[in-house]
Symmetry: C2
Subunit: 460 residues, 2 copies
Amino acid sequence: MRTRVKQLFVNKDFYQEQEVEIKGWVRTNRAQAQFGFLNINDGSYLENLQVVYDNKISNFEEISKYRVGVSVHIRGIIKLTPNLKQPLELHATFVKLLGDCPEDYPIQPKRHTREFLREVAHLRPRTNLFSAVFRIRSVAAMAIHTYFQERGYVYVHTPLITCADCEGSDQMFKITTLDLNQLPYDQNKVDFSKDLFGKQAFITGSGQLQGETYAMAFSDIYTFGPTFRTENSNTKIHANEFWMIEPEMAFCDLEELMDIEEEMLKFVIQYVVDHCPLEIDFCDQFVAKGLKNKIQNLLNSKFTRITHHDVVDILKNAKVKWEFLPSYEDDIAKEHEKYITDYFNGPVFITNWPKDIKAYYMKLNADGKTVAAVDLVVPEAGELMGGSQREENLEKLLARMEELHINKEEIDWYLDTRRYGGCVHSGFGMGFERLIMYLTGIENIRDVIPFPRTPKNCEY
Amino acid sequence: MRTRVKQLFVNKDFYQEQEVEIKGWVRTNRAQAQFGFLNINDGSYLENLQVVYDNKISNFEEISKYRVGVSVHIRGIIKLTPNLKQPLELHATFVKLLGDCPEDYPIQPKRHTREFLREVAHLRPRTNLFSAVFRIRSVAAMAIHTYFQERGYVYVHTPLITCADCEGSDQMFKITTLDLNQLPYDQNKVDFSKDLFGKQAFITGSGQLQGETYAMAFSDIYTFGPTFRTENSNTKIHANEFWMIEPEMAFCDLEELMDIEEEMLKFVIQYVVDHCPLEIDFCDQFVAKGLKNKIQNLLNSKFTRITHHDVVDILKNAKVKWEFLPSYEDDIAKEHEKYITDYFNGPVFITNWPKDIKAYYMKLNADGKTVAAVDLVVPEAGELMGGSQREENLEKLLARMEELHINKEEIDWYLDTRRYGGCVHSGFGMGFERLIMYLTGIENIRDVIPFPRTPKNCEY
């Protein structure tokens, strides 16, 4: 039975002087005349296991020539080494090559640029950096499920394929089973009756509307799945495929929504800190100095709650030459977000946004000008979550849809949430990659997605 | 602070004689002259809370007219009722209407057919049946994450958008940002250089190949996400969008793969039994009599392991008039699966399949005729998982790709898993909906997916 390297480190006293068997990949091989050292990583742990081998092993000569990247099977005795850099070593009695690796293996024990590693996205998880990043990503996903499930939320798999283009079909990928080189036409228009669904279909950018219908049954639900945007923008923070979390809560107003957002974010971050201490240390040391401090500050802070109007007042009074002039009618620019999080020295919930820059389904406030929306802006991360209380009043919702030319017929089912036992309810969306960038200090979204999809880039 | 109905039932002694506040939806209202009963469901629990109201409440007249489906806010005192059918009641002191519901509300307290409920998929989670089904679905998802994360597997978000059509582009939806009514053409072919990714893109039916590259870094990984098939087949077990789990393990052969499959399946089923006792009871009573027995039998059974060849021997010797004649070269038909699970009285792993009916990446056995593939067939469910040891030998893999005309250039990155420290490795796929159908006894896949997508059917 093979032992995972992580087990050896975590239960080292148990394994002292025990014979163990491991399988993994050689990260380095330092061979000398009579003995040598292999650093082995099996992916279970960020640290490598140091394996000592000597010329008492029959294939010593062969082992000493193992190249970086080969996979091996090793048996030996665990020795604790409290006086050395590494806490333990494996003294090999048996070493066998499982899979060879040529000289030109791209992942060598040296610093590779992240740009280079993006070109070998299928190999980069074999580096310490991406081993840390993608383990954090995995654990953060588990943290999110744990938070919601422990609190009785129902995880809803909302559909990705949709025929309603209420998001505006420009924003969505079209999907089809038709041969694009030989589309069937009828009166100069594509005849979608021949397509699989009998009409034009898309992949969607949000499960919110379907999520709301489930919140009207289960009270508390969440979605967590892939999401798509067709944006043709090559920035460090945009990808065309990413993962999103969209919780939706019945009987929940804007204040309660903020309570949940704050509690969830702290829970998830604390969970990752608890489960990935080595990985966070690594990112603090090699990706973003001060990362641990930043995270600890967030965990210790009480998030500020302030209206958009009051934020603009602060910005207007600031002695700063803005690139974008703050305005009561407009969005908050990146430079403003930064100023505000500095001003309050922590995360800030900005509430009650001008209705004209927000979505039709958000609750209109009594002033008739603002909606009960909330964005959470976080130091060094910018906007991390966006949510709102939903307009539960059918007449007001219909009026707003009319104003914005939203097709009512297409989402009549959605309006049923307001017709049949409607109630005050709220929800938010969090881009999962934003969270991972925050937790790792990584600045480019391409480095927190295993195989990122961006304009002109769809490899692997 | 609002209390969830589930809390009242689970901690009923704590709440005895306590004043509580609840919010939920009226499932029934039985009003009499001086008093009445509301059955309230807030989605946290399968059972309704019985609320007693009487004419000491100022708006008694109004309450007694509440229709099915309205949402309400109620305050009152919890009374334990050990001699009644329900273990507790809420004696209301305050009842307020939150959202009204018209007479023609489709979800009335009577039996609705599942066909009818599919037509109101956005409302059906408000019924007991779908409340049970979709809570089981949510909890089963958590069970899967728990199983893998507790064992150190890394959850990998493999991409859905792909440009490699190695699955055969007929099997995949094409996606585009181009206007289908005005496609740009170059020499009579669509000019995909104008598309977002600069070439023809698809949404994929599997993350396995990308998953394998991550297994070569982390040893143990899994995916869990939506998957797409373009199959134009209207059956009870096919949908065009469904969720799939695809674990992939380095240093794992076919025998170990079966160990993992069996352990995982039992873990997940036990987890759901433990966390959803009411829901399983409900399905046993109203969906599939004997469900609990079936589940308990699976948990207690040791799964049989037998080769495809030996299965065919058994089928040939059976005194049965087969619709499909058993053959050493062919797939196992539904009727055969049923015979074999009956024969062994439990789940059966069928191994070593004829290579010609399996995928190119499966490990060729020494006989040169079969591959180290395994299907798990389960009583009353049929095939629940399919997996294989992968061909780790580059030359053999290339030869097989050549035979099957798989484009090598397009997935050259995949071949790197065999070039750079390759090793024996294995993986499997499990359709999540199959599992939910097994756990609930539901026979139509449309009833275990919140908003199912099937040919000509893409509503909501």
